[in-house]
């Protein structure tokens, strides 16, 4: 077995070191996406769409064609792209705000329509780029800048369970999973399965990636990992749903 290179081959060197905060999970999620692209040998035929929010910091992350769009609008851009260029591998990289709030209608529609794109959604239970506001995935009692006394889930709803909802849509060939940056090897396998589903079954695939945001969680790296491994892992079960 060949040793895994330190960085994916498709990394754009000129944009490294990346712009994410220390301890942020995006770096791990993107690294595993990079390895997945390498291992599938699809760098040339892939187009990545990037949402607003912390996702956009990856606008020049890879030596792979990419386009940064508006908040919540990456999924429809990728759907339109795939409609015309069906040989491309289209990946929408979005956050939990872009996917589950402002862009939920588009996410559900693309899944329902079984558009042959792959959506990778990073769930860190918060709006990162804008400084830690409540997201649809925010926990009960979790303090954010827009719920300073803690989110009151009996008033504003429970944390949004994306894969659980998307799997209920009536598409036999879609792939729906949740992974975590705490287990990068599993994350990569799941991303590869999702992309393969797009390529081989010409169908929709969705991966939610549980991630960390030490800056807006007001935690250090160790505390963030503890939260990811305990509280977050309990609320959001990891695995392949469909």
């Amino acid at each position: 077995m060949n040793p895994i290179p330190i960085f994916p081959k498709c990394y754009k060197e000129s944009s490294k070191p990346h712009k994410y905060c220390g301890g942020c999970g995006h770096g791990i999620a993107l690294k595993e996406l990079g390895y997945a692209i390498d291992e599938l040998g699809i760098a040339k035929k892939t187009v990545i769409g990037l949402d607003i929010g912390c996702s956009l910091l990856a606008w020049d992350f890879f030596d792979v064609n990419s386009v940064q769009t508006h908040h919540g609008r990456t999924v429809p851009v990728m759907s339109g792209f795939k409609l015309i260029d069906s040989k491309r591998v289209c990946i929408a990289y979005v956050g939990d705000g872009g996917g589950y709030a402002i862009g939920l209608q588009s996410l559900i529609t693309a899944a329902q329509r079984n558009d042959a794109i792959t959506v990778i959604l990073v769930n860190n239970t918060i709006y990162g780029m804008t400084g830690g506001q409540t997201a649809p995935t925010t926990f009960s009692n979790e303090k954010t800048t827009t719920s300073p006394n803690g989110r009151k889930c009996w008033e504003t709803g429970q944390p949004f369970m994306g894969p659980e909802i998307i799997k209920s849509l009536n598409n036999l060939n879609s792939f729906v999973a949740r992974a975590s940056v705490k287990d990068p090897i599993q994350l990569r396998q799941i991303i590869k399965q999702a992309i393969n589903n797009q390529i081989n079954k010409d169908s929709f695939s969705f991966v939610e990636v549980l991630s960390t945001c030490p800056t807006n969680w007001h935690m250090n790296a160790k505390e963030s990992l503890n939260r990811l491994n305990n509280q977050i892992a309990k609320q959001f079960p990891v695995g392949v749903f469909k």
Partner: protein, 342 residues
């Protein structure tokens, strides 16, 4: 009727034009009075989905972003909408403006604000010209007949793909739904569309910048280019303006009433002329000012409380008396115009 003629609606003429110029994708959301544009395209799609690709989107915002995705992939794609949908589609139009994506939109005005009415108004002028959080770097054609729906459908795609700015063809429910006999051209110039991406050289496209100076550099270049092309593409029409003491200014379907009124008034020896901006953005202020400098007064006539008036006033480079006949969301008949002039 010979084979180069068709008796069709404005919405159908738009699709005929799009077909003639090689458009191969439409993404839209049904809304009166633009719905038939999507329906006509759906007929083509049902016959040949590869040649005429289509997405019926979940809303107009997504329809616009679907369109952008299709254009990035190399399609000659477009969208069509009206009223509240025109508001929503400003989001993707803004991205197209920022990234020089040749986005063609057919906007059929209806009454506003809000849901308003479903057929007529001239209140989407400012939205078309300056909607979005930018500088209004988009070309807007105001059409006044079914023939123009066809002609400017073709022109919109050519201008968009040649200069890479969004182009909006602004009509209304009357133009969209009335039937007229039109002439169809045989072989319009067709500028080919290409994918923004190829496999030999990767591109990372963005519309978000780290600092203002970075954005300003890109934006100032775009503004410079838009101003340069403005001189080439600006369009207007006029009748009897050379010796006119009174010049009526109107656009869109109102122009038809104005021309008829002016012909009647001329027969009565009243020295009246009329001027029509065909491109609302850019606006032919130079030609208008030349005529305005020689006349006693301008009369702005529109189915809005001041959208055209604001455009005229901001583009006039001469002092002249201005009067207005403004009827927001209501059509304007020939007789009303004649009464107003007398």
């Amino acid at each position: 009727m010979n084979k180069n003629e068709k008796f069709i609606t404005g919405n159908q003429a738009i699709i005929e034009g799009a077909k003639a110029i090689g458009a191969n994708c439409m993404c839209g959301y049904p809304i009166t009075p633009a719905t038939e544009i999507l329906e006509e395209w759906a007929k083509l799609n049902s016959e040949n989905p590869k040649k005429y690709a289509m997405i019926q989107a979940e809303d107009e915002t997504s329809a616009g972003f679907n369109t952008i995705g299709a254009i990035l992939a190399g399609a000659k794609a477009f969208s069509a909408t009206a009223g509240p949908g025109h508001v929503l589609i400003q989001d993707p139009l803004s991205m197209a403006e920022a990234m020089r994506i040749p986005f063609v939109l057919f906007a059929m005005q209806r009454g506003g604000p809000s849901t308003g009415t479903v057929i007529y108004g001239q209140q989407e002028v400012t939205l078309a010209c300056f909607g979005g959080n930018g500088e209004g770097l988009r070309v807007v054609y105001s059409i006044s007949s079914v023939q123009e729906a066809y002609d400017y459908s073709i022109k919109a795609f050519n201008v968009a793909w040649q200069y890479r700015f969004p182009v909006i063809v602004l009509g209304d429910g009357y133009v969209a739904k009335m039937k007229q006999k039109i002439k169809v051209s045989k072989a319009p110039i067709n500028i080919k569309s290409q994918s923004f991406f190829n496999e030999s050289a990767f591109r990372n496209l963005r519309n978000c910048f780290n600092v203002e100076s970075q954005l300003a550099q890109v934006l100032n270049n775009d503004i410079k280019e838009f101003r340069a092309i403005s001189k080439k593409i600006v369009e207007s029409d006029q009748k009897y303006c050379q010796d006119a003491k009174i010049i009526i200014i109107a656009h869109g379907i109102v122009w038809q009433s104005v021309v008829e009124a002016v012909e009647i008034l001329r027969k009565k020896k009243i020295k009246v002329g009329c001027f029509r901006p065909i491109t609302l953005n850019p606006f032919d202020g130079v030609t208008l000012s030349r005529f305005a400098a020689k006349c006693d007064k301008l009369i702005i006539i529109e189915s809005s409380a001041g959208h055209l008036e604001r455009l005229v006033k901001s583009n006039l480079i001469t002092h002249v008396k201005i009067e207005c006949l403004q009827k927001p969301v209501e059509p304007i008949a020939v007789e009303e115009i004649i009464r107003f002039i007398k």
